[in-house]
Assembly symmetry: none
Homo-oligomer: 415 residues x 2
């Protein structure tokens, strides 16, 4: 079976000038991927006739399906419709059903149709109209041999509805496509190259129909397995098998799958074990608590935090012993142990965690350079500490340290 | 003078599959626009050698400058470097300075270099290395006749730093571009359309060579003035004049200019006035403290926070009176006033601020729907409160409430 491939073309000066972020192409990519149509290229061009016509021809030379967004507004800087007429060598004519739909839309909004709006019902005679339920610019579907061009509005919610309701089902009907599934495996606490080394033997024997990609982000590496096959069940089973085979290679670096976030996984663990959490964070300055409370329903297990940013507050409010602070300093193992234990006791929580470090750029000493961070976990059975040596960048240090604490909770909770 | 044009090429299967949103191309578009370089096309291709090579050649045929992101990771699915070698007909060789930099980076993180990491220092012999201060994949600069190719990593913060520090200044030097200046005026506490109404008379008489753009983001509206002219001094003077003329129209909505953030402006005020700040945040869950402490040097004025997330903690740890909580509830004016006053007294701070609300999706009542938030500011002269009615979205509510508190501090500090 021939592989069906698509290209996405976004039209608009506002995209090229960096004023509007193109989320349409991203969304369309994901939707096509779900129905097994492979996007081979995405292109963005401005509101210039020659650029648009060239882009049409180039896309047609490579792809079976060309999906176009933008440039359908009523004003004269919008050129997609005249360009489609030229490209398909046809005229524009008022489409009676489109006109009726636009008139109806204006009526429902209590507004009168202007001549500019009426012109939005003028469509290239070579196309089939694609109804726009949420706006005044109809979509257009062109068949050319065994290829398809679809032009859609650039307003994201209009495009998405049109795509989901009409364009995707029609594409699925017109092209018989193979079944593709993606599965995301999420790891934390190990860098991309170290992970690649660890799983090399597994990666080497992956079958032809399963592809692997490494997707690194701050503190995490995602593994994406993409499987292709004859039936959905078969592909899913295949991927499951290979994820099971992966696990022995990854120690406990895998924290979740798909849409899981580290903070939601930790939240789920705490809820299941009916444990409560308290935080004493210094160098992370609230970001750790923010991650924890970004999960809806986190009040089920999160009791609260102290952020003893100033030295004085560490002593007087949190209650770290002055001797400890004087002897070892705020960024030290003895201090971090006290912080975690005290916040747990004070808040009457099952778990206490703490951070203290030099986020930078100021505050460093020769023994404690920027990026030095101590973290601790405490429950009634144990207190666990880690010393991290992070980066020169304040925000990276704040984020990496917070992720490291969440990971420490995940790995230290009582079984 | 010939108009200098650029193309942006993003490389990576994860972009075409719709799993990673390409924000790099958007950001680069905006930065090039600021220095007067016009982007004529953006292209995204997958990790396929033939596609990448074709895209190089096509871009070169149209543009003077080709900026490439992605595909520089250490693993075998990353093809940008081998493709650049083919395209520029050269080999790969370990770049001694790059190797030293990567070794240093690993050393500073207390980790050992693997062979895969070492290979990241292998660069096409035809390129100049572009230093990556935040990661292990160096950038590459190729001159080809009067055209330039620059390859940068796909990790956004690495690419942005490289672009801002090295690539943009070098492009500005190599290509003489017209004198363009941008000036950003930052407002908070007023919506885009209300602001547009307020400044309509000023906007109407702006001269030809100064353009205005509204850039709204969560809780803020930025005004970007773009001036074009013969000399840098002249353009800057022009813009200054028109910013001065703008001020009388904007009451106290303007909080800063350029790179100012609301949290850095508030920090500056506190430092200048030698005042200290403490926070009691409930519904914002740490995000307000995070904004405050994201400013380097915030320990000069920020003493710390309490995050009394659980009802019990509001009473026992912070010390809100049980009668107040029982009679009015946690989300109420009497409670928020106590929270701000107590945290100020406890932390012995000059200023105390507090948040309490229903971030959602749970926790709403008929009288207190999702998005209801109380905030308060307290100093020795006054206590100021505000009731906000925000959105249905948890993260938006957390962010908007935090911004509202920062703005309340800005407007309430003693003169």
């Amino acid at each position: 079976m021939k592989k069906i491939v698509a290209e996405i073309l976004a039209i608009g000066d506002e995209l090229l000038y960096g004023q509007t972020l193109d989320t349409n192409s991203h969304w369309i990519s994901g939707e096509l991927d779900k129905i097994g149509i492979k996007v081979i290229r995405r292109t963005t061009v401005g509101d210039i006739e020659e650029e648009i016509l060239t882009a049409f021809a180039e896309a047609e030379s490579r792809a079976d399906i060309i999906l176009i967004t933008g440039g359908l507004g009523p004003t004269s800087d919008d050129l997609t419709k005249p360009c489609l007429c030229k490209y398909f060598n046809c005229g524009l004519a008022i489409h009676p059903v489109a006109l009726a739909e636009i008139t109806e839309l204006f009526k429902s909004r209590g507004r009168e149709l202007t001549e500019l709006n009426r012109q939005q019902a003028a469509l290239p005679t070579a196309c089939e109209k694609v109804t726009n339920l949420l706006g005044t610019a109809p979509g257009m579907w062109f068949n050319k041999g065994d290829k398809v061009f679809v032009s859609m509005p650039g307003v994201p919610h209009e495009m998405k509805k049109m795509m989901a309701d009409i364009v995707l089902p029609k594409l699925m009907q017109q092209y018989k496509t193979p079944v593709i599934h993606h599965h995301i495996v999420k790891t934390v606490g190990i860098g991309e190259s170290f992970l690649a080394d660890k799983i090399a033997a597994w990666e080497k024997v992956l079958p032809e129909n399963i592809k692997l990609a490494y997707l690194p982000s701050l503190g995490e590496v995602k593994l994406r397995l993409t499987g292709v096959g004859a039936s959905s069940d078969e592909v899913k089973r295949d991927i499951e098998t290979w994820v099971e085979k992966l696990k022995p290679y990854t120690d406990n670096y895998i924290y979740g799958y798909g849409d899981d976030s580290l903070e939601s996984v930790v939240g789920r663990q705490l809820r299941e074990k009916k444990l409560t959490l308290s935080v004493a964070e210094s160098c992370t300055g609230g970001y750790l608590s923010h991650l924890i409370t970004s999960v809806p329903g986190s009040s089920d297990y999160f009791l609260g935090s102290m952020i003893p940013y100033a030295y004085e507050i560490k002593m007087r409010q949190l209650g770290v012993k002055p001797e400890t602070l004087e002897k070892y300093g705020a960024v030290s193992e003895p201090t971090i142990i006290e912080m975690a234990n005290i916040v747990r006791a004070k808040f009457n929580a099952d778990i206490g965690v703490a951070t203290s470090g030099i986020a930078g750029p100021g505050g460093a000493t020769p023994e404690k350079p920027v990026g030095t961070v101590w973290i601790a976990y405490s429950d009634k059975h144990q207190t666990v500490t880690r010393k991290l040596q992070l980066s020169q960048d304040r925000m990276i240090n704040i984020r990496m340290a917070s992720i490291a604490v969440l990971n420490l909770i995940r790995l230290s909770l009582p079984q």
